[in-house]
């Protein structure tokens, strides 16, 4: 185990354990106004064929002209993946026929991609992290969209997506479990969203993954892989891998062998199925696109982009740990989304940062998850949450009352100070008032007082009674002290 650096989990078969090996090809739509090679809109949606120029429709005589911002976005992403940026890259034609590909080829990059090798640090749920190698990132055009359900005998084609810029990000086969693959995808999504190079919206197809899966005996040579096409959610990626790994193990243990093939994930049935593929599907006959010169830029271009990079998740996480004293786990949770990190920092300004982190990852996340709301739609502003933590810090309210205040803030959107004032939730720290309440409880419960001598644990009951009397507003520590002062002799103190 120690020698081969085994990690992830092994899958038990009938004949022993197996290791699953996973690589991902992620298609991420570049955030841009216009398409990669035309001036038509790259916006999602739009009336059928409205975001289409004559270039995108593959009309004769049209020539592609590259969108410089898309190039910049690819370089920016490459820098975010700690990857090599290639100052010379070449566009090739990938030839195949399909009704939603009007040119008869997709302009892509084959031998000389714009971005070379890089690495992504992936945080696992347990708090561990692993490195996943990036093999390359290249720019290419998206195809149009075929609708098969509009008519029993016909396919409807909308070319709005045709020509939209995509980044294909290819990982090394460095993942060893479905959890690692999902965590990698999550991290990749966080990075492109931080960079502003892709919106990461998997529902709209802005990000989708082709998943390569193979299995082997631990430490053995790589097995034959199958590629599962176009999986469009983190959950499905994990499910597809689980199913596919098990399927391959069953085939191998049954004495069969795996044929390299392309499969589809049926998310309703939770299974992968072979595509009814044409025998010659994989002969794309790539060749350099004669309509386009090689893409070249200089170091100054790269440096200019580098200067605009935001603080990325890994750096932010390290800073949250050192600057705010958060645990690596909490810091990791907070930096997963740029908006959450910004919310936390705004709320923590001048406050007890650890307490703020607990409120954000605890009560706030619970409420937002329950309502399916993103942090941007939180009824409790960062500033208001910070103010509430401040009220706990200066003793205005107890942590217990704060739970109630938070619920009211979430429901009404009101400021915590106002809620505390109007509803009289201010913590009672006045020792006279607490002392009076303690006296009252003692006087009206002589039997319990007697019992206390034999059962010291009963003191908790007294705390509860006093809190009840003060509608929970008494400072719990002051209550404890007052009780000890008056009943301590019974506890042998």
């Amino acid at each position: 185990m120690s020698e081969s650096k085994m990690r992830g989990k092994l899958i038990e078969g009938v004949t022993g354990s197996w290791e699953v090996v996973i690589g991902l090809e992620v298609h991420a739509q570049v955030l841009s106004n216009a398409k990669l090679f035309s001036g038509a809109s790259a916006a999602y949606g739009g009336a059928p064929n409205s975001h289409v120029s004559l270039v995108d429709a593959g009309m004769p005589g049209m020539l592609p002209v590259i969108n410089e911002y898309c190039v910049e976005q690819a370089v920016r992403t490459g820098l975010g993946l700690n990857a090599q940026i290639n100052k010379v890259s070449v566009f090739d034609r990938k030839n195949y026929f399909y009704p939603d590909l009007p040119q008869g080829y997709q302009i892509s990059q084959f031998k000389q991609p714009i971005v070379g090798e890089g690495v992504v640090v992936v945080d696992l749920p347990g708090g561990e992290s692993v490195e996943v190698g990036i093999e390359r990132l290249h720019l290419e055009q998206d195809a149009g969209k075929s609708l098969h359900d509009q008519d029993p005998n016909a396919t409807f084609v909308d070319l709005n997506r045709s020509g939209v810029a995509l980044m294909e990000i290819v990982s090394r086969p460095d993942m060893r479990s479905s959890e690692e693959a999902a965590a990698y995808l999550k991290k990749l999504r966080a990075i492109v969203r931080y960079l502003g190079t892709c919106d990461g919206n998997m529902d709209e197809g802005s990000m989708r993954a082709d998943v390569n899966v193979s299995v082997r005996r631990p430490g053995a040579a790589l097995g034959t892989r199958c590629e599962i096409k176009n999986v469009n959610s983190m959950r499905f990626v994990a499910q597809a891998i689980e199913y596919e790994a098990r399927r391959q193990i069953d085939v191998l243990e049954g004495g069969g062998s795996i044929h390299q093939e392309t499969r589809l994930f049926d998310n309703k049935a939770g299974v992968t199925r072979p595509m009814r593929s044409k025998e010659e599907a994989h002969d794309y006959r790539y060749f350099p696109d004669p309509d386009l010169l090689p893409l070249e830029f200089d170091d100054a271009f790269i440096a200019r982009i580098k200067a605009t990079l935001p603080e990325l998740p890994d750096a932010k996480k390290a800073r949250f740990v050192s600057e705010y004293g958060l645990s690596p786990y909490d810091a990791g949770v907070l930096v997963a989304e740029r908006e959450i990190a910004a919310y936390f920092e705004a709320a923590a300004k001048g406050r007890d940062a650890k307490a703020v982190a607990n409120w954000v990852t605890g009560d706030l996340f619970a409420a937002l998850n329950r309502d399916g709301k993103p942090i941007g739609e939180s009824p409790v502003s960062a500033d208001a949450l910070g103010e509430m933590v401040g009220l706990i810090g200066d003793g205005t309210i107890s942590g217990r009352i704060a739970k109630d205040v938070f619920v009211i803030m979430y429901e009404t959107g009101e400021r915590p100070a106002k809620i505390v004032e109007e509803r009289g939730l201010r913590q009672v720290t006045d020792t006279g008032a607490i002392s009076a309440a303690v006296d009252e409880v003692i006087a009206s419960n002589p039997a319990k007082v007697e019992e206390l001598a034999k059962k010291p644990k009963l003191i908790g009951w007294f705390v509860g009674e006093v809190m009840k009397k003060t509608q929970g507003k008494a400072n719990p520590q002051a209550v404890n002290e007052a009780l000890k002062a008056k009943l301590g002799h019974l506890l042998g103190e």
């Binding site: 216009a34 001036g39 809109s41 064929n49 590259i66 026929f97 399909y98 909308d158």
Partner: protein, 95 residues
């Protein structure tokens, strides 16, 4: 390099060209001739020659990220044999 009938059939299929059986042999001969002619270039030593990408040194022309085109769906589908609500309509293709 020369091509045989099988290679011609395959290339034609990939290009979606209907080539009658009796044309395969003549085409194979023609294509082999063309390839042999181009192969003469291999006689030159290009070991230390950068591949030429344009006759004059030129930089790939770039456009700004501005929407300048589109929004004429009727024109896009105008030549289509069949269209509906500005969609192209083609015989059913289903994977």
């Amino acid at each position: 390099m020369s091509v045989d009938e099988k290679a011609v059939r395959r290339a034609a299929r990939l290009a979606r060209l209907a080539v009658p059986e009796d044309r395969l042999a003549p085409l194979a001969a023609e294509l082999s001739g063309i390839l042999a002619w181009v192969e003469q270039l291999n006689e030159l030593d290009t070991q230390n020659v950068e591949p030429m990408t344009s006759v004059r040194p030129m930089r790939l022309y770039r456009r700004a990220d501005v929407v300048t085109d589109g929004f004429y769906a009727e024109d896009i589908v105008k030549n289509a044999p069949r269209s509906e609500d500005n969609f192209f309509v083609v015989p059913k293709v289903v994977e």
